[in-house]
């Protein structure tokens, strides 16, 4: 019999407001599990559908996510108190494929979570990386980041730039061999375009509303190009990380 190890009880160890509406939630898991940067967990939020969140940190016992309070599900999460028990499942999906290449990491908004996790993983392996994260304004910047550069759209903190424009400036001196990104669709698309211009690989972490998290419901599919043909791929099971060159961009 297979081990049924993908449902967990998590004790809320910390719920911290890190910016105007971005929160850090740390859960001590009763069952430890290993994950890779870019994988996600799905948290039961007292709604019909679980909410998927990219893992921000996972030391085997404590797993954390960064999320923006935007709707009923995430409002439930922000109402949690220390030592509350949360039902979550995972880890799910395919994370970033780590390559021994100088890495430019681009994160925008709460999308900074998996690339920040990735940066930690790259550092453990001695792989050089540069993390640029972008936010709307100073009130949007989470206080818990390992970012090398922070940019804001309005310049109220850090450098005034959009994250892609700034990345374009930096590639000249940093000379990346691969780009990893997570954030709004437009940021992912532009990261892929930048990688293409530089002749390097891009890996992007996609986001979609999900129901099952395991590839059965086919609710979160996107179009990808494989072997020259447009095909369906589920963000939850085939992704959430895809090669930027495979995604059919609909923006």
């Amino acid at each position: 019999m297979a081990e049924h190890k993908k449902i967990h009880k998590g004790i809320v160890k910390n719920l911290k407001k890190c910016s105007k509406d971005i929160y850090l939630l740390e859960l001590e898991s009763e069952t430890s599990f290993v994950s890779t940067a870019g994988q996600f967990i799905s948290i039961f939020c007292e709604r019909t559908l679980r909410r998927p969140f990219s893992i921000y940190q996972n030391d085997g016992n404590t797993v954390s996510v960064l999320f923006r309070e935007i709707g009923k599900g995430t409002k439930y999460l922000t109402s949690l108190k220390e030592n509350d028990i949360v039902d979550f499942s995972g880890p799910f999906g395919n994370g970033f494929e780590i390559k021994n290449k100088r890495a430019l990491l681009i994160g925008a908004g709460a999308g900074v979570a998996p690339v920040s996790y990735l940066k930690t993983e790259l550092e453990k392996r001695g792989i050089e990386s540069l993390l640029i994260s972008g936010f709307r304004d100073k009130d949007d910047i989470p206080s818990c980041l390992n970012s090398d550069f922070i940019v804001t759209d309005d310049g109220s903190n850090g450098i005034k730039s959009n994250v892609i424009d700034f990345a374009r400036l930096k590639v000249k001196e940093f000379n990346p061999e691969i780009i990893y990104s997570c954030g709004p669709l437009i940021v992912l698309k532009k990261s892929s375009e930048l990688a293409k211009e530089l002749g390097i690989e891009a890996q992007v972490s996609m986001e979609k509303v999900m129901a099952c998290s395991i590839g059965v419901c086919r609710g979160c599919v996107i179009d990808v190009i494989k072997e020259g043909q447009v095909q369906n791929a589920s963000v939850c099971k085939d992704g959430p990380v895809f090669k930027g060159s495979e995604v059919v961009w609909k923006i």
Binding site: K6, T48, L49, R50, I214, V216, R218, G219, V221, N232
Partner: protein, 310 residues
């Protein structure tokens, strides 16, 4: 040890009355991380068509106040793909399954039935009521005459256990149930999703943006409709009924037994609680023992008697 929740539907025996609904369980292998699928009553496969289908291109799912709406459009790998890749896995793992099939013409349904017979598929569920496909299966499910013709055609070609899944989006579900019986169906399952629409607006820089999904409404909100439909079918025909619609708890399941269901399917709840089928099955067994019912049939008889009392 005697299996007190063994469930007989006409000539077919299942180890429990708890099944999982089509479209919410894939082809079962995806659930290995949560439970031993071979322990549950049966799984109903995602709908399988003659040729592979890519499904719909637009946004496919959206949450509602009391459930969700899907517009998947029957994405599936086609019957050849199923027979080659999924059937051996189901059989190797000893999983009891019902194959859900969906055609886009009477001939396709008949051919699918024939292929199922040839491959010794013990039970099939005809999807005659998918709300998300422009041409095809829905039309068969809303008219008693066309449903009769369709089920008769499949019956001629298929000698296993034939279940017809009815849509609630009709005026008289009784007439459709009677048509199934006349055409030789062995069992009715109900209900498929209700037709629904959900839209969410976001105001960005003074302009509205929308996310809209129109399709099949499922989840806890449809339960009263499902109970009513199952009860109406029960009064119209004496075929076994597999009831479904927003089942999340033991109490929900008992309500379906009370109004006339012989077995049940769990649908949307699988997404939120991937091990729920096993849990509800265990709870049902414990409930029977704790309350000194002889077995599941005894429990069903008693709760039905109570429900039917004036």
């Amino acid at each position: 040890m005697e299996n007190i929740i063994q469930t007989k539907l006409a000539h077919l025996t299942f180890k429990s009355p708890v099944f999982t609904a089509s479209g919410t369980y894939g082809y079962a292998d995806e659930y290995d991380d949560f439970l031993d699928v071979s322990e549950i009553g049966a799984i109903v496969t995602k709908a399988i068509s003659l040729k592979p289908r890519e499904g719909n291109k637009h946004t496919r799912i959206i949450e509602t106040q009391a459930g969700m709406i899907n517009s998947i459009g029957l994405e599936n790998l086609g019957i050849e793909g199923f027979l080659e890749k999924k059937l051996p896995v189901l059989r190797a793992k000893n999983i009891d399954f019902i194959m859900n099939i969906a055609g886009s013409s009477m001939e396709e349904y008949a051919l699918l039935g024939e292929i199922c017979s040839q491959n010794n598929i013990k039970a099939i569920e005809l999807n005659v009521s998918c709300p998300n496909v422009k041409s095809g299966c829905l039309e068969f499910g809303v008219s008693a005459d066309s449903l009769y013709n369709l089920v008769s055609k499949v019956r001629e070609n298929y000698d296993g256990f034939l279940i017809v899944k009815l849509t609630p989006n009709v005026t008289s579900i009784e007439e459709l149930a009677l048509a199934c019986k006349r055409a030789g169906a062995d069992c009715i399952s109900a209900i498929n999703t209700l037709k629904g629409l959900e839209v969410k607006f976001e105001l960005v820089n003074g302009k509205f943006r929308k996310t809209k999904v129109q399709g099949g409404y499922s989840g806890v909100g449809i339960q009263p409709v499902a109970l009513s439909m199952v009860n109406r079918i029960r009064q119209a025909v004496d075929l076994p009924i597999i009831g479904m619609g927003g089942i999340y708890t033991l109490e929900d399941m008992l309500k379906f037994f009370a109004v006339g269901a012989d077995a049940i399917q769990i649908g949307t709840a699988n997404f939120t609680y991937p091990d729920i089928a096993k849990k509800l099955q265990d709870e049902l067994r414990e409930y029977i023992i704790k309350n000194n019912f002889k077995d599941l049939d005894d429990l069903k008889n008693k709760i039905r008697t109570c429900f039917n009392e004036q």
